[in-house]
Subunit: 206 residues, 2 copies
Amino acid sequence: MTAIRVTVDIVLLTIRDGHLNALLIKRMAKPFENRYALPGGFVLEQESLDDAAIRELREEAGVDRVYLEQLYTFGDPERDPRGRVITVAYYALVPHTQTPRAGTDASDAAWFPATDLPPLAFDHREIVEYAHTRLRNKLDYTNVGFGLLPEKFTLTELQLVHEAILGQRLDKRNFRRKIIQKGIVKPIKEWRRTGRKPAQLYRFGR
Amino acid sequence: MTAIRVTVDIVLLTIRDGHLNALLIKRMAKPFENRYALPGGFVLEQESLDDAAIRELREEAGVDRVYLEQLYTFGDPERDPRGRVITVAYYALVPHTQTPRAGTDASDAAWFPATDLPPLAFDHREIVEYAHTRLRNKLDYTNVGFGLLPEKFTLTELQLVHEAILGQRLDKRNFRRKIIQKGIVKPIKEWRRTGRKPAQLYRFGR
DNA sequence: TCAAAAGTGTTGAAGATACACCCATGG
DNA sequence: CCATGGGTGTATCTTCAACACTTTTGA
């Protein structure tokens, strides 16, 4: 019972060109050498699980201030060929504007569409799917979508985030009404003029 | 990093006389000697987390076929004075009809109202509150309430379960309409005649 | 015949959905 | 002046909340 080791793995998600993407890192070491895997690693003796996840995100994905939430703990005795390793899975959200560069100790980090993943190491595919489901479910009774946007954003950008996560188009008028009625965004006196008609910027409020 | 030990702890819930109750066990050993704690214990090297929870429920609470769901993993480095122990928390539901007896290796098991707990060992109070919150949230978008009822039940009994979990009275007509429209219960051709007007029995369907 | 729990419908409010056109700007 | 994405309102339907009386039985 003392021979169990504990890792954290993090599903880092962002929106890239209208699709939900997850960051994966190509493994250098065995097992699953050259396979893609989630950023993550062993929990240190003196750090909390959340701190371990934050540390791994910084070390392996080069990202710092993200929305982070514990997902589920995967503990099948056969899930890791090296022995008994349970993993506490997290998911994290970053705006794609602060593009995470590949970290230092990871050979190769890359974004993949959450619905079109390469073969993954361990049970990591299941973990990504779990994260996607959780995010979809939380989308409309929480403000979780804001983790995927920069501080200032247009309502169209927010709608694209929702569409990417839900995998379906939404009606512009209904979407805007719902968001505004919830009172969780407030318009600021700035406009993004990106060639076309300028779009009003909003901020996540309170 | 290998010195982390892993336990499971289970919040076993039932409805007793209209209130949500949790099963607690008085600890014999240090630390927290004589304090109440959740049933649980160390995960064995060859068992999954779910299996560990099922085993502990059988050993410590004497219950067998229950609804069981993983809750959250608590991993604060200071949460256990004996050293680094993380716990994967579960919650489980039993109908109060199959009253669990106190198990064998537990000195003293007893039911306590979930809203009026004695002082608990470790961070177990937080875990019970987390379980209560989860159950409340899942109540109306899942069928989770059925775990607390025997196979055959009346709609009034089902309503009492919901009221106990939510902590508020519900309108009988609205409740029955909603449940029946969901199509998750089906009436059977049996009536419970308990002194008053006989009540139709239902079964959880499909 | 009384006490106790079972059972049953309607109305109004709020929220969700469907749907189409005009506007401001840069090129 | 045209192409592009920004922005707006209404009608309908569905869902939820409030609300009170009749029925069946055992004592």
